[in-house]
């Protein structure tokens, strides 16, 4: 099985979010970048397939050279090789079109992508990619088994789970549950040494265009101070929630 894992390079979850150039750009100053947490679940699952069922694992990122340390980290976790599509994308549609070109040229069976990225949270790349390549598609995946070309997938639904069956080729939008968090892999020294020698291919973009542009960012308005209520006076809390906040 040939697996492609899409890797997005995103600010660490604890990063302070600031903007530069008149609030038109994300300020990367002092920000540490990591593998998108949703993609990390998918990458670990791909490693499992590789080790238990036999598979080759390629990772791909659409982005500038600054994303290479993140790709090296994914190689250190165990991916076989990496592709970087050399363009700084401005929206998810552009990313999906560039990824579709990679998928079409590589004869992949299974494409794993996080259901969203932790920065722009667009939730569109896996669905667009599947539609552009005419692969089957399951989003919000919380479990996947592959037997030959038959696939069984669990996805999250409101208030529960759904089990689905389908065939390869398939794109999944994954989240926690594809593997559990305790099973996530961290690169060890040997992996890091080996990753240095693994191929990281840089390819030119097909020139897909974005369909949206960010005009400006805004930080959330500062919140008023919390109103503290005495622990012996829960009546006051009820009254505030009823009369002031009007939520009960």
């Amino acid at each position: 099985m040939k697996i492609l894992v899409c890797i997005s390079h995103v600010p660490d979850t604890t990063s302070k979010i600031n903007f530069a150039e008149n609030d038109t750009k994300f300020d990367t100053n002092g920000v540490q970048f990591v593998i998108n947490p949703y993609d990390e679940f998918c990458l670990t699952r791909a490693m499992w397939f590789k080790e238990k069922q036999g598979a080759s694992v390629t990772i791909v990122n659409v982005g500038g050279a600054e994303t290479e340390p993140t790709l090296r980290k994914a190689l250190a976790i165990g991916a076989d090789n990496a592709i970087r599509v050399n363009v700084n994308p401005t929206d998810g549609f552009q990313v999906a079109k560039e990824l579709a070109a990679v998928v079409k040229s590589g004869a992949y069976d299974l494409v794993l992508a996080g259901k969203e990225s932790a920065d722009y949270n667009g939730q569109m790349v896996p669905g667009m990619l599947a539609t552009l390549t005419d692969f089957n598609f399951i989003n919000g995946c919380v479990g996947i088994e592959v037997d030959g070309t038959n696939v069984s997938v669990q996805r999250e639904i409101d208030g529960g789970n759904e089990t689905l069956s389908t065939n390869l080729p398939l794109v999944i939008g994954g989240q926690k549950g594809v593997v559990e968090e305790k099973d996530l892999r961290i690169p060890n020294m040997r992996g890091i040494m080996m990753a240095r020698k693994k191929p990281l291919q840089v390819i030119e973009a097909v020139g897909a265009e974005a369909s949206t542009t960010i005009q400006s960012f805004e930080k959330l308005a500062p919140k008023g101070a919390v109103k503290l209520v005495d622990a012996d006076n829960v009546d006051e809390l009820i009254s505030l929630l009823h009369n002031e906040a009007k939520v009960i």
Binding site: I157, G159, T212, L220, L241
Partner: protein, 318 residues
């Protein structure tokens, strides 16, 4: 030209978010000087949507659509969008809404923007405000394509009555083939789900153990609320994973979020930022949650929550 909204229903009944997307679609249609058309799939009576401004309802009924299938649903939305000459398609940000939005976007070659929180600030260029960076910021985003797909964030625009004399027409949709088949659906029934709840009562590691969740459930049941928890609580197996909220868990956009014995770590807050009113009960006055909350009690959950239950019972009875 028209604005098409997909009004989601479950077992024939509209979700609250369906009324919100119709309200939103009506507003966008007014801004564009056109009509809003609401699409319903297997909903028995769609007249409720007239109350929120849907001049026209396109009703699709087909047994093949009894179980949600993303490709088939997206094909229906696309077909109706084309038939109604819709340039803007609005879905809600439910699990299913966000599943079909990107498929519809590719079908229509439309720019797609999810987590939208307000009516367009401008229609030329078409500019919407959306949540980004895990709810820590907003972005004003311009959609430059002729067609646009919008995923509306829950509880962001609100439900607005706007009574019109609407009409409903039926539509025979083409059912496309899908190689993805539903085998089994397991749903917790009889419980308010986090996605639908207006009120969420959430407990953290401060509750010490699963045996103490009785009071959380009682408080939730008095308020008609869903129960939730912080990540360590589900990791420890005190509560099911489906209750874990936060950046790596479920997002919560409730009107009221009550956090009991939860510290308010940044990853937890990322998942609940979109909630309107936040209440925190915590023994530690320095807990970061107090900075994010609207109302707070510094106190021991084991003393405060039983009192709150007792007083709320009296309040609800009065």
């Amino acid at each position: 030209m028209s604005v098409l909204v997909f009004a989601e229903s479950s077992e024939g009944k509209f979700k609250k978010t369906a009324l919100e997307v119709v309200s939103y679609g009506k507003k966008v249609a007014e801004q564009l000087g056109t009509n809003v058309v609401a699409l319903t799939i297997n909903a028995s009576d769609s007249s409720e949507l007239y109350t929120y401004g849907a001049e026209k309802v396109v009703s699709v009924t087909n047994d093949a659509l009894n179980t949600f299938n993303a490709k088939q649903y997206a094909a229906v939305v696309t077909e109706v969008a084309k038939a109604q000459n819709a340039t803007v398609v609005v879905v809600d940000s439910s699990i299913d809404g966000l599943y079909i939005a990107p498929i519809v976007a590719v079908n229509l070659e439309a720019g797609c923007v999810s987590n939208v929180v307000a009516a367009p600030s401008n229609t030329n260029p078409f500019t919407v405000k959306r949540k980004t960076f895990s709810n820590k910021a907003l972005s004003n985003t311009v959609i430059s394509t002729d067609h646009k797909v919008i995923g509306l964030a829950k509880n962001s625009f609100g439900i607005h009555e706007n009574v019109v004399a609407g009409t409903t027409e039926t539509f025979e949709a083409t059912i496309v083939a899908s190689k993805v088949k539903s085998e089994k659906v397991e749903r917790v029934t009889g419980k308010v789900t986090i996605a639908d709840a207006d009120i969420v009562v959430s407990g953290g590691r401060g509750l010490k153990g699963p045996e103490n969740w009785g009071m959380i459930e009682e408080l939730a049941s008095i308020l008609g609320a869903a129960t939730a928890c912080s990540k360590p609580v589900s990791d420890l197996g005190w509560r099911p994973h489906s209750e874990h909220v936060g950046q790596t868990g479920k997002p919560v956009a409730a009107n009221l979020y009550i956090a009991i014995g939860i510290s308010g770590a940044i990853q937890h807050l990322a998942g609940i930022n979109a909630s309107k009113v936040k209440v925190v009960i915590n023994t530690d006055p320095e807990a970061p949650f107090f900075k994010a909350a609207d109302y707070g009690i510094v106190g021991d959950a084991f003393e405060v929550v039983p009192k709150l239950i007792e007083k709320l019972k009296a309040f609800k009875a009065s």
